[in-house]
């Protein structure tokens, strides 16, 4: 089952002044359960592609289908609703809400979805357990290490039961041990619960764990390799 389909995606920044062609006809299909790394040098268009797939940005041209829906036709408000119900985000800088505890950060998305409290509590505890943070439930981000914050971010991304998770350089701010821990957690979730992960990364440790590596160069896919783990 295809979770993401892009056809001829192009993205040009500053089209009227000094055009920068970030993506130049990207065709990419990602199936459910994939563990895909999008790699490439800086400026190759990784983040732009991730933003477009995630409905945070719009392509200049091309077709994009996510979870069976053509998201290029959605309004800004519809895109917000779509993201909330279908996509989990993990950001490089964790981006947790600093005034909320780990539990509240995870619960927040479910609250926006209107999920009843009992269900929210149950799922939050399950997710905290899944990322190994049962004992940090009432800790605020400032009381957690970078690795722990990123694990909360992963749990938050999973909270809405999204079709897939987009992780933009998720290990960029982590030390080696935290990176390995995080990758183990995400790989387990992928293997056991068939959650689809799409990363953009420079990190060789992430690339080494990916089962599919898509390489972008100058806004074009230069290679697309499935790796046997």
């Amino acid at each position: 089952m295809n979770v993401i389909i892009t056809k001829g995606i192009e993205k040009t920044y500053n089209p009227k002044t000094i055009p920068v062609h970030a993506l130049q006809g990207v065709d990419l299909t990602i199936k459910k359960g994939e563990f895909t790394a999008i790699v490439g040098p800086s400026g190759s268009g990784k983040t732009t592609l991730l933003n477009i797939i995630g409905g945070l940005d719009r392509p200049t041209s091309g077709y994009i289908e996510v979870g069976g829906k053509d998201i290029s036709k959605l309004s800004d408000n519809q895109l917000i609703d779509f993201r909330r119900e279908n996509i989990g985000f993990v950001f490089q800088a964790y981006n947790l809400i600093p005034v909320l505890t780990a539990k509240e950060n995870i619960e927040f998305i479910m609250l926006l979805q209107g999920i009843p409290k009992a269900q929210r509590d149950k799922r939050t505890l399950e997710l905290l357990h899944a990322v190994g943070l049962d004992d940090k439930i009432n800790k605020r981000p400032i009381e957690l290490s970078g690795g722990q914050q990123q694990r909360v971010a992963v749990a938050r991304a999973l909270a809405s039961k999204p079709a897939f998770i987009l992780a933009d350089e998720p290990t960029a701010n982590l030390d080696s041990l935290s990176t390995v821990n995080l990758l183990d957690i995400m790989a387990n979730l992928n293997m056991q619960e068939h959650i689809t992960f799409v990363f953009s990364t420079h990190d060789q440790r992430v690339i080494d764990r990916a089962r599919r590596v898509v390489t972008l160069e100058d806004g074009v896919i230069s290679s697309d390799v499935y790796v046997d783990q």
Binding site: L56, R83, N95, V99
Partner: protein, 400 residues
């Protein structure tokens, strides 16, 4: 959850939030204090005018109002006026426009021929005596004059003055009166224009007793509108006017002071609005990344907008009661002790104001203020909240 986040967000920068809360509290305090002071000044002004000068209602011959000639007297039998329901006290006065002369000077005045006991029940004249005594002694032709007149005529207690006026027959008549009392009115202009003599003495000088004015005090000032038509219908040949009709400056003063109050409140509220906008704008701008993240993960614009509005309203909800409490305490303190403005009393007395002001708060001012602060906070939150929802998540997330 939005409220919870909003509450926690405002305490991220404690000092900044406290400054805004204190600013709101001080603004609210200032409004309450000015309001209390205004109500106190207005009440004192009206009370002074009503209790010591013009009373609640006055009756005259209709033409006397146009032209104060001694012949325009009230001819109705007034003995049962006191029986009208709601009437507390009446004073029948004989008035004469004339001249008071001392050996050193003379000036124009209104001679008020009164029945001492009845007059005192209406205008509390005896309370205003600062030298000498009220009528009651056996002195012949006693007169009570104002302090201002005494100073201008350079006369003292127990000295004689000559009162001259045109009698009913058109002749200029004069009488010699001995000063038994000097009064100090709440209004210095009134004090410089009016002298009081016993009605019997004035009638003797005039050659006939006449009544030109009846001052009426009612039990309840709020019942004036009901009592006035009753008296009008009972005495159709007279003109009955209430204190606002007699002294239109009271209404003017009341409305003017209300306008001033509104202007002051608007200025304070505007200052608060811009202070809050500044703070909330800073709070939004330093959280661009976080707001971008919230929208990225699915928090819709309405929720983002409401979160900023809630944060602003919470600042108001915390600050306003503080200011109200402070204001209530301040007013309560001065309501009994008064604010002594005696160093400005000369200027104030010219306008009929008291030397000591007693601020007073009407109960509904707190409800009005609570609504005003809520509206202020909501107005102040609109621009920062608008800035927040105009952020593009893709750019906001990458901001530093």
């Amino acid at each position: 959850m939005l409220l919870k986040i909003a509450w926690k967000n405002i305490w991220r920068s404690k000092v900044r939030s406290l400054v805004v809360i204190i600013a709101i509290a001080l603004g609210v305090w200032a409004i309450i204090f000015i309001n209390g002071l205004t109500v106190g000044i207005t009440r004192a002004y009206i009370n002074n005018a009503v209790n010591y000068e013009i009373s609640h209602l006055q009756m005259h011959h209709p033409q006397y109002i146009e032209e104060s000639i001694i012949n325009y007297q009230i001819r109705e039998e007034l003995s049962d006026l006191q029986e009208v329901e709601g009437v507390k006290a009446i004073s029948q006065r004989m008035l004469a426009n004339g001249m008071i002369s001392s050996p050193k000077a003379a000036r124009g005045i209104v001679v008020r021929g009164i029945q001492p006991a009845a007059e005192n029940a209406v205008t509390h004249l005896s309370d205003l005596i600062i030298e000498g005594e009220y009528f009651g002694s056996k002195a012949r032709n006693p007169i009570i004059i104002g302090q201002e007149i005494a100073e201008k005529l350079k006369i003292k207690l127990r000295q004689k003055v000559v009162i001259t006026f045109q009698s009913k027959g058109g002749d200029i008549v004069a009488g010699s009166f001995r000063i038994i009392g000097i009064y100090k009115a709440k209004n210095s202009q009134y004090e410089s224009m009016n002298v009081f003599v016993d009605q019997k003495d004035l009638a003797a000088t005039n050659g006939e007793k006449m009544i030109h004015e009846v001052a009426i005090v009612v039990n309840d000032i709020n019942s004036i509108d009901q009592i006035q038509p009753l008296i009008e219908s009972k005495y159709p040949g007279t003109s009955v006017r209430n204190y606002k009709e007699i002294s239109p400056d009271i209404s003017l003063y009341e409305s003017q002071i209300q306008v001033n109050l509104i202007v002051i409140i608007i200025i304070i509220m505007l200052a608060l609005i811009f202070g809050i906008i500044n703070t909330m704008l800073m709070a939004v701008l330093e959280r661009i990344k976080e707001l971008g993240m919230l929208m990225a993960v699915g928090m819709n614009k309405l929720n983002v907008f409401m979160m900023i509005v809630f944060e602003t309203i919470i600042l108001g909800i915390v600050g306003a009661p503080l200011g109200m409490l402070l204001g209530k305490m301040t007013i309560s303190y001065f309501e009994t002790r008064g604010i002594d403005l005696s160093s400005y009393s000369k200027g104030m007395r010219q306008f009929g104001m008291s030397e000591i002001l007693y601020p007073h708060l009407e109960g509904n001012v707190f409800i009005q203020l609570a609504i005003a602060v809520l509206i202020t906070a909501m107005l102040a939150s609109i621009y920062p909240a608008y800035k927040a929802i105009k952020l593009r998540p893709v750019e906001a997330i990458r901001s530093i």
